[in-house]
């Protein structure tokens, strides 16, 4: 069965995994998933077209120098350069990342809409300092199998090989949702009366 809505996301507590490095700044959602792949009316198979034009040549053969085509790198964590996810609001970008198998994206800076979309579908965006991001890239360069531990309850990210650690921010509400696999629609449905009363007074 295809996943047709985001209720199907996994709970997130502690994730320990190797990571895929993408040290490019301003990775926009048109790169994450080009518009021509947004034509589905169901949410399925977006992972196949993640980073499509960086990953494949026009004849669909894989571009060997792109990181996702390098078997040395794998894992559930994607580490991107500054200003990750800018541009279009397409949630398909987050779907593509999730469907490919990532559960967490690490960067020193995220675009707003991408960050919100990620949280809504069960990807944890972890914002670290520029220095810590560099250290992660260095650690992966030294050993592609190096593992990171992302601990959501504690709000920490650790480079396991060196023990270097940083904490990250997330609001309490979203944290609770991610840990429990809850989503906003359930919350909003539960306050329907309050919304109706509000709507009745609305000017428009």
């Amino acid at each position: 069965m295809p996943i047709t809505n985001k209720m199907a996301y996994d709970k997130f507590t502690v994730l320990r995994s190797s990571a895929v490095p993408l040290p490019i700044e301003n990775v926009d959602t048109d790169q994450i998933i080009p518009a021509r792949f947004l034509k589905a009316t169901e949410r399925k198979e977006f992972g196949d077209n993640l980073f499509r034009d960086w990953r494949y040549n026009p004849d669909n053969s894989p571009k060997e120098d792109f990181i996702l085509n390098n078997p040395v790198y794998s894992g559930k964590i994607l580490v991107g350069g500054k200003n990750f996810g800018s541009g279009s609001s397409r949630e398909h970008a987050a779907w593509a990342i999730y469907d490919y198998g990532f559960r967490c994206v690490v960067s020193s800076f995220f675009a707003d809409i991408f960050k919100g979309n990620s949280l809504n579908i069960g990807i944890l965006p972890v914002q670290v300092s520029a220095e810590f991001l560099d250290r992660i890239f260095t650690a992966i360069e030294a050993d592609p199998k190096t593992e990171l531990e992302v601990n959501l309850p504690e709000q920490t990210i650790t480079i396991l090989a060196t023990g270097e650690q940083e904490s990250f921010d997330i609001n309490g509400y979203k944290k609770h949702n991610m840990i429990n696999g809850f989503d906003d629609i359930d919350y909003l449905q539960a306050m329907k009366d309050e919304v109706n009363t509000f709507a009745a007074k609305s000017l428009y």
């Binding site: 034509k39 589905a40 949630e91 809504n120 309490g172 509400y173 906003d184």
Partner: protein, 480 residues
């Protein structure tokens, strides 16, 4: 509450908070929800799988734009997947009682063009759409921003989304704009100053005489591009220009309702002494016609300048080099004189009547360059109609251009209008990302004037070189 000075943004935001969640987002009420064929189908599926209904179909408007062809719209859509999405929009709209302006409907057009045009967009409203350029509607003093599909489902089912309140930024531009400097140049200039992520986390109010004097169309262009510096949206205080634009439009309030609305709208401005988290001041005289040379909208410069040297950057050299490499440009080069292949005028950024007037002011009496393929695409049928009525179509035809039918067209390469790999396009749209206009395409963002100058010369050209007599007409068109 009353005596603390507050900003326009605070006034509108706070009036829409249904509930504040401690250490969490606000439950935020949405007055108007625009939907289109690309980002809504999965949201409707979600509704169905949960057995939920659309809470306020009367606050929801559907239009088809992203996927639609821009020629032969009377024929069935050839691309099966596109046709499928268009059908889904239509059937979902009819199932839930949402008004739907599909292909062929006289009101059809790009979502951010048709909303204002029909008086749906009003001051003080909250407006969302599964499209980041929803920021356009901020030109009316509304809080408007793009959302993801999960949020589309939230709005459909509860007319609310969960939003942390953004920080506030004010950008002031004062003084007199120079010749051939249009609203598009103003916004490209601001984005170049702040960079592509420079306003992330903020909602931007635009203030100062440049915006006060600007037409509604110009203000929409500026607010539209707010997202390109990372801002969630832009907002401009409504004034007489706004009220005059709205008055008489189909869905605008009438009679007593108008008077009541108007007296409320007049309160929608930032109070003296209200504070912002960040504030910038720019001088209008520093802005010249702009063009981009790289692969994000922050990589723009005045047409008389040279592409910056990597050594002048504050970092990100590898990313910069990758970008120039993609574009086939070199640091230190001029943009002027570069040969181009395509010109696109249209999109929700520059697909309104002013934009076609500006374009026509330069091509009038000239001919399209032989090496150029030009796509001239109105933002809506209403704009298309105006182009015909004002005689702009005749000017276009005489100069060797063809007018296409409304839609997003070459803005995002989802329909048939794609720029081929390696080709250069001077485009009045909003994004020059790699492959945005088609795999391998290279985009130079610019104003309709710059696009016109390129279209008739076949290369990047300073529009000021082509306009002597036209200046007065232009002042009229953008109100500058």
């Amino acid at each position: 509450m009353s005596n603390t000075p507050s900003t326009l943004f605070d006034k509108v935001w706070d009036a829409h908070v249904v509930r504040k969640i401690e250490d969490g987002p606000d439950v935020f009420f949405i007055d108007r929800h625009f939907i289109h064929e690309v980002t809504s189908p999965v949201a409707f599926l979600g509704l169905e799988s949960r057995g939920l209904n659309v809470m306020s179909p009367e606050r929801t408007f559907a239009t088809a734009d992203h996927n639609t062809p821009t020629i032969n719209q009377h024929l069935p859509v050839k691309d099966l997947l596109s046709a499928n999405q268009l059908r889904a929009l239509e059937s979902n709209s009819s199932k839930y009682g949402i008004s739907h302006w599909g292909l062929g409907n006289p009101k059809n057009g790009i979502v951010h063009v048709v909303g204002p045009e029909n008086g749906i967009t009003l001051p003080g409203m909250t407006i969302v759409c599964g499209d980041s350029h929803t920021s356009t509607h901020g030109a009316f003093g509304a809080i408007a921003f793009g959302i993801g599909t999960s949020e589309v489902e939230m709005v459909l089912s509860s007319q609310c989304i969960m939003q942390p309140k953004p920080k506030k930024m004010r950008i002031n531009v004062n003084g007199k704009l120079s010749k051939a400097v249009t609203p598009k140049d103003v916004t490209l200039y601001i984005i170049a100053q702040l960079t592509t992520g420079g306003a992330t986390g903020y909602f931007v109010e635009y203030a100062g005489d440049v915006f006060r004097n600007m037409s509604m169309e110009g203000r929409m262009t500026v607010c539209n591009m707010s997202i390109e510096m990372g801002a969630r949206g832009g907002i401009i205080a409504p004034d007489e220009t706004t009220f005059n634009y709205i008055n008489g439009r189909e869905k605008a309030p009438k009679g007593e309702a108008w008077d009541k609305a108007l007296s409320y709208w007049k309160t929608l401005k930032t109070d003296e002494g209200a504070t912002f988290d960040e504030e910038y001041h720019f001088d209008a005289a520093d802005i010249e016609p702009m063009i981009t040379y790289g692969t994000n909208p922050g990589m723009g410069m005045g047409i008389s300048k040279n592409i910056p040297l990597a050594t002048d950057l504050k970092g990100g050299v590898a990313t910069y080099e990758k970008s120039l490499n993609y574009m086939g440009f070199h640091e230190g080069e001029q943009m002027k004189g570069k040969k181009i292949d395509y010109v696109f005028i249209g999109s929700c950024t520059n697909g309104r009547i002013e934009d076609f007037r500006a374009f026509a002011s330069i091509i009038k009496g000239r001919k399209k360059a032989d090496n150029v393929t030009a796509w001239i695409v109105p933002g809506s049928h209403i704009v298309e109609q105006q182009i015909k009525e004002e005689g702009i179509l005749d000017i276009l035809t005489e100069a060797g251009f063809e007018l296409r039918q409304p839609g997003c067209s070459a803005c995002l390469a989802m329909n048939d209008d794609k720029i081929p790999a390696g080709k250069y396009a001077v485009s009045t749209s909003n994004r020059n990302f790699e492959g945005r206009q088609g795999p391998g395409s290279r985009t130079l963002l610019a104003s309709p004037l710059m696009a016109a100058a390129a279209a008739v010369t076949g290369m990047v050209t300073d529009p000021r070189e082509l306009m002597e007599v036209q200046e007065e007409e232009l002042e009229l068109s953008y109100g500058l």
